[in-house]
């Protein structure tokens, strides 16, 4: 069964219809790449999944549970949405690390706040208390996986863009989301730093992390993603196996879009 099902997602900003009845699903352990030109609605789609934008219409289900349904107001309260966000992790184009915290603190902050909340609700059961030390150790393991074990104590401004983005990936992974989303994770990086971030994402794919990646790196999408969705003007024009869509697109519009990439 699909871990993520999005049905008839629509979203408008004023008169501009950015997403028009977008329907797709994602299998557990798969990586889905969303490609398309700027303004095609890729980022908006990702932001709808993370509830940074509220869809105007549609249903979002994770593991069969309805997270969001525009016809069911009970799924739309702020507190509900806050909890449901934790099914998703999001890595931003511009990293958005918290500047006043070290790399390590960036990763542990949200887990610590959640643990404190949990412990407050449930103060009796000492053995079940989530240990802050455990959170820190887990974060250090993640940093190590990102190749940043020696950067734990540094603040974001002391890190390169690629290093910051890898910390951001670790930060998203720390909460163990069901689906990890990337919004053009390398667009703000120069080519030299792009590689190190893509390598990390590739290794996550090898570990069967369920991912949705909005990207302009076609070769990367082809090699790493299981499936590709080509989005144009708020509509899914083509979807299929990554290799098929990128090497041998069926739709004229997809061909046009991809031809601009094959030149370089």
């Amino acid at each position: 069964m699909a871990i993520l099902e999005a049905e008839n997602i629509s979203k408008s900003f004023g008169k501009a219809e950015v997403l028009k009845d977008v329907t797709f699903s994602l299998e557990q352990g798969h990586a889905l790449a969303i490609i398309g030109s700027s303004g095609s609605g890729k980022t908006t789609l990702l932001r709808c999944l993370n509830f940074l934008e509220r869809p105007d219409g549609g249903v979002i289900r994770v593991k069969g549970e309805v997270l969001f349904d525009t016809n069911d107001p009970s799924t739309q309260s702020e507190a509900q949405i806050r909890k449901k966000r934790l099914h998703f992790g999001l890595v931003f184009q511009s990293f958005n690390l918290f500047p006043q915290y070290t790399a390590l603190q960036n990763i542990t902050l949200a887990s610590e706040l959640l643990a404190k909340e949990q412990n407050k609700k449930d103060p009796g059961k000492d053995n079940k208390r989530i240990d802050l030390k455990e959170i820190k150790e887990k974060a250090l393991v993640l940093l190590d996986q990102m190749g940043l074990a020696d950067k734990a104590g540094l603040h974001p401004y002391q890190l390169s863009g690629g290093q910051q983005q890898r910390v951001a990936i670790a930060r998203a992974l720390a909460l163990e989301p069901d689906i990890l989303c990337f919004d053009e994770p390398t667009s703000a990086l120069d080519p030299e730093l792009t590689g190190e971030v893509l390598r990390v994402i590739r290794s996550l794919a090898e570990k069967k992390t369920t991912m949705t990646i909005v990207t302009h790196e076609m070769a990367f999408a082809r090699d790493v993603a299981d499936e590709v969705i080509f989005l144009d003007d708020g509509v899914i024009v083509e979807r299929g196996k990554a290799v098929d869509v990128i090497e041998n697109p069926q739709q004229e519009r997809t061909r046009q879009f991809l031809s601009r990439f094959s030149q370089d």
């Binding site: 806050r82 958005n96 918290f98 006043q100 915290y101 949200a110 603040h155 974001p156």
Partner: protein, 220 residues
């Protein structure tokens, strides 16, 4: 020689009044300013409109006039004296006027600081499942503080000098005391009050410098 010391002591006691007015204004105007800044940023149109009007009026009126309005208006209009009587009543009225005035100025500094924080910071907190309160206190606030230290230090330095305006409603502060010697031909007490302000502002500048260095460990 003895008279000089006596006068200096009297002036120092006067400056204590200025300092108290200064501290009380800060104590109340800083949190009130934050609340007002939230008001003017409110998504509820009527709230932001009302708040912005208040800020416009308060910033549009000379502090001197505001002081007189706060002190005299309740008595003239409704025949009441909510600030109490005598010295303490006048001092209370001065505190109220200063708090209202400075809270409005501070609110604009807070607003600028809060709006200068990239929306991505809030969004990063949101996708990590943080509440609005957690995002404000754990993420945004310190970044705002770091950004507003320079404009705040300006306002706060202006505040200590503005406190001498309170003599208009006979708050017995340092300039008022110093002026009393002028008719007797003693002009030096008046000018020497500048030294008190200079020393105080010097101390404030050191404090702000220290604080800025304290926040040097990160960049926004």
């Amino acid at each position: 020689m003895d008279e000089i010391l006596v006068i200096i002591e009297i002036l120092a006691k006067g400056f204590l009044v200025n300092s108290r007015l200064f501290l009380l204004t800060l104590l109340f105007a800083l949190p009130l300013g934050l609340v007002i800044s939230f008001g003017s940023m409110s998504k509820v149109k009527s709230v932001s409109a009302v708040t912005k009007t208040i800020v416009w009026v308060v910033r549009g009126i000379p502090l001197l006039l505001l002081l007189l309005i706060i002190y005299f208006a309740p008595g003239l209009l409704w025949g009441i004296s909510p600030w109490g009587t005598g010295n303490s009543g006048r001092f209370n009225a001065a505190v109220i006027a200063f708090v209202i005035n400075y809270a409005c100025y501070f609110s604009e500094i807070f607003r600028g600081g809060i709006q200068s924080i990239p929306i991505g910071q809030t969004e990063a907190g949101q996708v990590l499942g943080m509440t609005k309160g957690q995002i404000f206190f754990k993420i945004t606030l310190l970044q705002v503080i770091k950004r507003i230290v320079p404009p705040m230090s300006n306002e706060i330095i202006t505040l200590i000098k503005d406190t001498s305006l309170a003599r208009l409603i006979s708050v017995y502060e340092i300039l008022m005391r110093a002026q009393e010697y002028a008719p007797r031909g003693l002009i030096w007490p008046l000018f020497s009050t500048g030294l008190f302000f200079l020393a105080f502002v010097g101390f404030l500048s050191l404090l702000f410098g220290w604080f800025e260095r304290k926040l040097d460990y990160f960049k926004v």
